[in-house]
Point group: C2
Chain length 420, copies 2
Amino acid sequence: MPKSTDKTRIIHPHTYLKSNKIGVGIYLDYASSANPECANPGAIHSLGVREKNKLENARKNVAAILQSQSSEVIFTSGSTESNNLAILGVLNAAKEKIPHFITTNIEHSSVLEIFKYLEEHKKAEVTFVEAEQNGMIDPEKIRKALKPNTVLVSVMYANGEIGTIEPLHAIGKVIRHYNKINSRKILFHTDATQAVNYLPIQVAKLGVDLMSFSSSKFYGPKGIGILYVKKNTPIRKIMFGGDHEFGLRPGTESVILALGLAEALTFTEKIKIKEVKRLVKLRDYFFTELHKIFSSEGPTPVVRGRAQDKKFHEAKFIINGDLKNRLPNNVNITIPNIPGDLLVIELSARGIMASAKSACKMGDEKASYVIKAIDKNIRETDGSIRFSLGRATTKRDIIYTVKVLSQILIKLKKWYTQHT
Amino acid sequence: MPKSTDKTRIIHPHTYLKSNKIGVGIYLDYASSANPECANPGAIHSLGVREKNKLENARKNVAAILQSQSSEVIFTSGSTESNNLAILGVLNAAKEKIPHFITTNIEHSSVLEIFKYLEEHKKAEVTFVEAEQNGMIDPEKIRKALKPNTVLVSVMYANGEIGTIEPLHAIGKVIRHYNKINSRKILFHTDATQAVNYLPIQVAKLGVDLMSFSSSKFYGPKGIGILYVKKNTPIRKIMFGGDHEFGLRPGTESVILALGLAEALTFTEKIKIKEVKRLVKLRDYFFTELHKIFSSEGPTPVVRGRAQDKKFHEAKFIINGDLKNRLPNNVNITIPNIPGDLLVIELSARGIMASAKSACKMGDEKASYVIKAIDKNIRETDGSIRFSLGRATTKRDIIYTVKVLSQILIKLKKWYTQHT
């Protein structure tokens, strides 16, 4: 054992610790995390405990906004992982021999692709409820799809491409009613990724058991997301490792990303009402201006809901998605005979960044699968373009954008008239 | 169509774009990524292309260090996900009816737990090769475990707890020999998480098909990792969504984290040789000083390799793991009858951060499973403690730490002597 004389030779901790490089003590846990300032929240030394506290504070702040319990908030790497954990995790826990899932045909690819895989590999039965022409999901169609082996209904809160806000409340009611009558516990999941900036996200009011979202969509850091998991929801992890995140998601949490997410979400909540009002005005102004540049020639613009109109493809532009149940920041139009990618590139060359379809499904099909889903008659030559507004968007930006778009359309007119 | 008179009313792009808030143009792609400065690398507008270029540059830099192709570098959320993708991904692609895997009993929990799950749920056959008393894996034992239905061998590059460097080259040779004779294509995966700071990571030289590592262990940001996947390796994604990362890992990449990883890895490579030399010296000095404080009383300290020695549990301290094949930054000792957690807390109270066992497996068992694996006779009361050194560690830190440890041991002496 150590000699007791050693004791007298020890410098007082404060004297030494203040003078060393780290400034927080002597860090000898580099194998756990190389950066002492971002120690491993699973470590039991004081720096680990400090990080753990920060992490749990971030979780608490998120839970307060969702009006949930802290233990219902799971940090993931983003919406894609959250969606995978929600759906595959419920599948892993399901006792049904062939579990049945209900979803829609306009979900984000991370939801759609899971279900396509499950169906293809016969791991589950899946009903893809088709969206209406305005992009809305009919709760009655969900009701009709419910079966004795249904385990989960997954319907997005708002569609990122066409901005349609889905009737979550009505769908939740349908599920709860079915559960009550049949003594079942069918779960309700929503991908709220595109909704967080503008819509209420208090989980109890929404009536969901599982809700996914991603920090980078509400001005937080990229690389972190949330899966809300209601207490007592039967779900199992889909990756294996340590017992992080209540055993549902292994891997050391990035505390700094969690703090960034919580801070961004707090600010989003704070400005939500005001920002919604501001953007609805801007969005509607955008639509009005678009009408103006098209109205000088050809027939009146046709709104998606009237797609059966024979004159549909004679229209000069079409607004995609419901006009009323619509995200405040979404403007999505189809311009027949002009490819969306071309418009995006022409706009980009003039300093305007828009999108032709989800960046997650680039290059694998010509038209957006969401637009195809709401318009069976769309041709590959009909391009759609999405303008999604945000905190820095001004009326001046819209005026400028519409003018530039008008200029581009004149340039493309030759090509355009050759094809109509 | 637009009136051509509109054209004349357009402000010149540069005049307008310079004056607006974003400074990079008009950003109307908030639904894709809320931050224009971190646009979605999947977007086709100029900001998206810029991000995509940054991402591919980061990938190229990582590939250059690994001496691999860029398309062999997959960004994940960290080592845990990389390990899951490597093992479950190979399982997903396996054609064998019951695929057989070989691993060891001292892998990180993210590898061990996957295999335990696969075995338990009869999704695969798994051989857990036992480490020797010095923590080394015997390539001969791997050879004996190879079977006609073996699809993958997963052996860590270096153990994070006891610092043992495993004989990857010899194990790779054994696998290649078996493959050649039997016309098989058994894959070789290594979890290199703890090795990247100090050991060569050129994949061809290592002879691996798959290699996992995490940015936060080499002073990069937390929340990102790499899975190296050799060209033509049969592997399938484990999460579903967009076609990011060559179809192997869905979810928009965090470009800023990827840049951080690449930068940290580049610097790590640059200082590797010098840092290894410096830390080996410090580590061995640490061991020498530990010997000194224990040598005044009791029998000579016993090194793990000699654990069969009858006097083992009379030893005052035991060095865990091989002394030669050892990470330059690892000091791991067992002090019989003193709980490791207690030591960590006592040290932390004096400003010294060490670790009792992997932070990923806290609270679920008393002693570290790695120490248990190399010492079947260890008692729950025998605590082990790991000091892992790093870039800021100085000789003065070691001197101070050993003194403080000695002081703590004197304090615990009463308790200690009561129990021996």
